[in-house]
């Protein structure tokens, strides 16, 4: 017998034959998390992600590129990593270079440009798939067009979020979107810039990931501006 069979053989005789009742997760959330209006969700999302040190800007489809430009200029950054082939990426590639912002794209496997990614990529823009109001959390599903490291390595991470895609809870997000039927290689919840309190419980931002997180919120409902 190999280790696998030996471990399973040690467990099997003691696995209770009488079925323990399945936990009713849905009932708990129904009883404890009220349904909120889009405006309430947007307010709550903004409150919690700002508490976690993120910067939030309400934008429109017409002015978001301008805000993006202003966010970069305010920090003296003239270079942005964007995802070519995504609708938002293409808009940036059209709109920002004329404003003097140099746009780089993630067009090769990381092995070909790891050092450049780590040392010469000050900012990135990605979209969020959705977000969670309860905790002020962005949901990202990195893919071939917008790979994982875009939301991790650049010190400034800017996220474009459509506020109509706000869920109340993590539970609601995964059930409404049917995540159990298929998850990508990597999916992420992000709730602020990276941080640590490992030295004398003193909170410091910019641990290993982004030092700053900026959220550009599209379609913010009235009453939540």
């Amino acid at each position: 017998m190999n280790a696998r069979d030996r471990i399973l053989a040690k467990l099997r005789p003691f696995s209770p034959s009488t079925a323990t009742t399945a936990p009713d997760v849905a009932a708990w959330f129904a009883a404890h998390r009220p349904v909120e209006s889009p405006a309430e969700k947007a307010r709550r999302f903004r409150h919690f992600i700002e508490l976690a040190h993120a910067e939030v800007h309400a934008v429109t489809a017409d002015n978001w590129l301008k805000t993006l430009c202003a966010v970069l200029r305010a920090r003296g950054i003239e270079q942005l990593l964007v995802a070519e082939g995504t609708p938002h990426g293409e808009q940036v590639l059209d709109g920002l270079p004329p404003q003097g912002i140099e746009c780089a794209t993630y067009d090769m496997a990381i092995e070909a440009w790891k050092t450049e990614m780590f040392t010469a990529t000050p900012a990135s823009l990605t979209a969020a798939r959705a977000a969670i109001a309860e905790t002020g959390t962005l949901i990202l599903w990195p893919d071939a067009l917008e790979p994982r490291l875009m939301s991790l390595v650049p010190p400034l991470h800017i996220v474009l979020l459509d506020a109509t895609k706000l869920y109340n809870t993590f539970y609601e997000a995964m059930t409404a979107e049917g995540w159990k039927d298929g998850l990508p290689t990597n999916s992420l919840l992000i709730s602020g810039p990276s941080k640590t309190a490992d030295i004398q419980q003193t909170l410091a931002y910019g641990a290993h990931g982004p030092k700053e997180l900026v959220v550009l919120m599209l379609n913010v409902p009235e009453g939540a501006q």
């Binding site: 467990l11 990381i110 790891k114 990597n186 999916s187």
Partner: protein, 480 residues
Amino acid sequence: MSDQITEHRLHFKPAEGFRSRAKAVVDTPFLRQSFRGAMDFLMSKRAAQFPDPEELESLRTLGEQIRQYNLARLPDLLEQLEANLTRNGVRVHWAETPDEANAIILGICQQWNAKLMVKGKSMVSEEIELNHAAEAAGISALESDMGEYIVQLAGEKPSHIIMPAIHKTKEEIARLFAEKVPGVDYTDNVDALIQIGRTVLRQKFMEAEVGLSGVNFAVAETGTLCLVENEGNGRMCTTVPPVHIAITGIEKIVEKLDHVPPLYSLLTRSATGQNISTYFNMISGPRKPGEKDGPEEVHLVLLDNGRSQAYADEQLRKTLQCIRCGACMNHCPVYTRIGGHAYGTTYPGPIGKIVSPHMLGLDATAGLTTASSLCGACGEVCPVKIPIPELLMRLREEAFSAPHPNPAMRGQGAGYSPLVSAIWRGWAFVYRSPAMYRAVSWLTSRFNWLTPSRQGAWTSVREPLKPAAKRLRDRVRERG
């Protein structure tokens, strides 16, 4: 620099030295103050996350149900997890012992000619002492969680499962960095210290061939490994190097993805008083064709190391409900006074006292089961309702009862003393019969001058115990 880091040969100490190590901390006012302050801080942060007692109680009940439901199906779920991870392209390995786990991990490293392994925070990797095994195999194992990095630089072990460097001040860390990190001058500015760690470790994330991580929840139905963290080093370790190896105890498994949100909420709120962590990283496979980053290989090592012993007993199985939040140690009056290193085991505090005997045997841990006032705080705050005080009582019985055949635990009876046992049997015998009790109490009051003046640990700081010359019943009778 990484060579320097793995030079130290510090291993976890056997639990016999517990008393002297505990005394050393208690005798150091500075350490006591710093643990007290840190624990008060963590307790108040947790309390602020649970303003509604009804919500807390119902969520703990749900957490307990989820853990018990999944443990009841453990062997089936392990097979389901293995099948789904394999389908997703993750290679699954099984290890009964720490040595087997180390051999698997180092074998993968050798296949890749790895010189450097960067590690995200993983208590299971501490449990198997992977850093020492890696060093022996000529591979640098570098901790990348800031707290773990600090204790590794100092040649120490974590003193808390969530906040590894909680015993160190910023001044100590400043001196450590100035001494050990090339080109760094003394600064005790916390932001500057973190930036030093960030700069050193970012270079290492780029260089490492292997990234190692733990697992907070493994989801059987989707074949997904979930990691909880704030710093981003966990994401670095699982994304940048070409190989990602995850290691977990066999108990950290849930059947359904929707079991995760309640446990995740309980975990971060109980551990550090955060409503959520910065990152929740769900890994369901290696890089797919066309993807531009992520590891080419993902491995999962499933470790038993005594967990199946706890599993075999219905009461002891509750130990495996643990989600490693550390709230029990934050609320423990013993942990707060002696800190994490005194225990000598990988997992300190109340959870350490109930889980370590299964990993190390009661022969090495019998004394730890008595390092508790049974105040019950650990059981009250446990987010998945592990009855820790009840389990401590059970472990004391296992450790101190006379050895018997077919014990439920390795090392049963290790603390057994025929003399102490005879004294308690005599005590029980006397108290069972009113006549016997009267006779013995009369004799002890008459012969109280025979009481020894030295009574072991009791008289080290107290007056000797001496029966009164007149019994209570005699005094009551005299008063009429």
